[in-house]
Subunit: 225 residues, 2 copies
């Protein structure tokens, strides 16, 4: 059922990895994207590009890339302990759902690939070396111009009764994804999001509590909230 209260939506927009093949109307995707672009972007440059993939052949190709990337992810998982906040049963259920998506990404009726075009500054090659070095050391902030929009996509999908999930491992095979979507060299992909109507229901989002993840003024000093 559709919810439109901000907090109701936020608190029930858990990752949906099992989707029905039923088509999603273009108008709804347009509304989702119109919500996406209300998010901020660095210098308000709005250098985003949203690739909406409906073509069955291209979805299948993207699904194959995702499957291949999942094999790398599984090697990474193999060396990592189960997260403390999930018990064995919860973790098994989580991994089952993750595995389902590994095998069915290409079956989602819509695949959305949020991208960024190269920054307005990339043409400025005339920068002092120390500034270049500081920028090179700050690559991790690039996503600040696209992942806020991705969260708006997640929330808008929830409001429209659609399921989706943020995935990023396709980036291990960026060149292949770029070829499938015919992207020019100055565009980079940041996410691969299956969108469709959920097989099951939306569910409440459970998380570690705020006092476990927030500090006041100095690391180690717990936030009193």
């Amino acid at each position: 059922m559709a919810e439109t209260g901000l907090f109701e939506v936020m608190y029930s927009a858990g990752a949906i990895r099992r989707l029905r093949p039923d088509p999603v109307p273009d108008e709804v995707i347009t509304k989702v994207l119109d919500a996406a672009i209300r998010a901020p972007s660095g210098s308000n440059a709005q250098s985003w590009l949203f690739m909406v993939v409906k073509d069955a052949g291209k979805r299948k190709q993207l699904g194959a890339v995702y499957k291949k990337a999942s094999e790398i992810l599984m090697k990474l998982y193999a060396g990592a302990p189960r997260p403390e906040h999930m018990d064995e049963k919860k973790y098994a259920r989580f991994m089952q759902s993750v595995q389902h998506l590994f095998d069915h990404m290409g079956d989602a009726p819509v695949l959305l690939v949020p991208c960024l075009k190269a920054s307005m500054w990339s043409g400025n090659t005339n920068l002092p070396a120390d500034i270049k070095a500081r920028m090179a050391g700050s690559v991790r902030i690039a996503g600040s111009s696209i992942y806020p929009a991705v969260q708006n996509i997640i929330l808008a999908c929830r409001a429209f009764g659609l399921g989706t999930v943020l995935t990023t491992i396709h980036a291990f095979f960026e060149e292949e994804v770029r070829a499938i979507l015919n992207l020019p060299p100055d565009v980079q992909t940041y996410a691969l999001m299956p969108i469709g109507y959920p097989q099951g229901h939306h569910f409440p989002v459970k998380r570690k509590s705020v006092n476990e993840v927030a500090c006041l003024d100095s690391y180690g000093k717990a936030w009193p909230g």
Copy 2:
């Protein structure tokens, strides 16, 4: 005035760079953070850390770092053209507001620094070289585990009548920020967000339209929406 409808909030949560010094109740910050952590994170690891800075001395120090970073940003801007989607008047107003924040970051009653702890995989040093290379080439996706939470912060602030703005240039001086907040080496900062009650009003978010920024199936094929 507070809004709690999802789309009303999204469409009126523009960047607020001028804040009143009035204190923000801790309970409200806790509610904002409780909304933040409903966002997704890679493998649901929730490796986030939210540094809430209220101490006046530390805010002043962070404000000085931001000011210093702004001087680098201005050098970057100097080599860049005005964005096409802003006319001269709009751009001048934007830059004035940006300049106000350069000078007053430390005056916001609360500074929030969303961080990430090193990934659950970083302990796995036993990876094949090709996987290491693919991960090294995918640094830009790191923010996918924190900027969705940042967008929830922006939306929750709006709902509670608070103003904020996502800034990232403090990252040019990451080591200094880490020292101020006493952060351990495995924690990286991703944003610096002033939070407080706005001097002015919230306002509608205007953006380039969806059909300018979305494609169907292949780059260059405009989304029909």
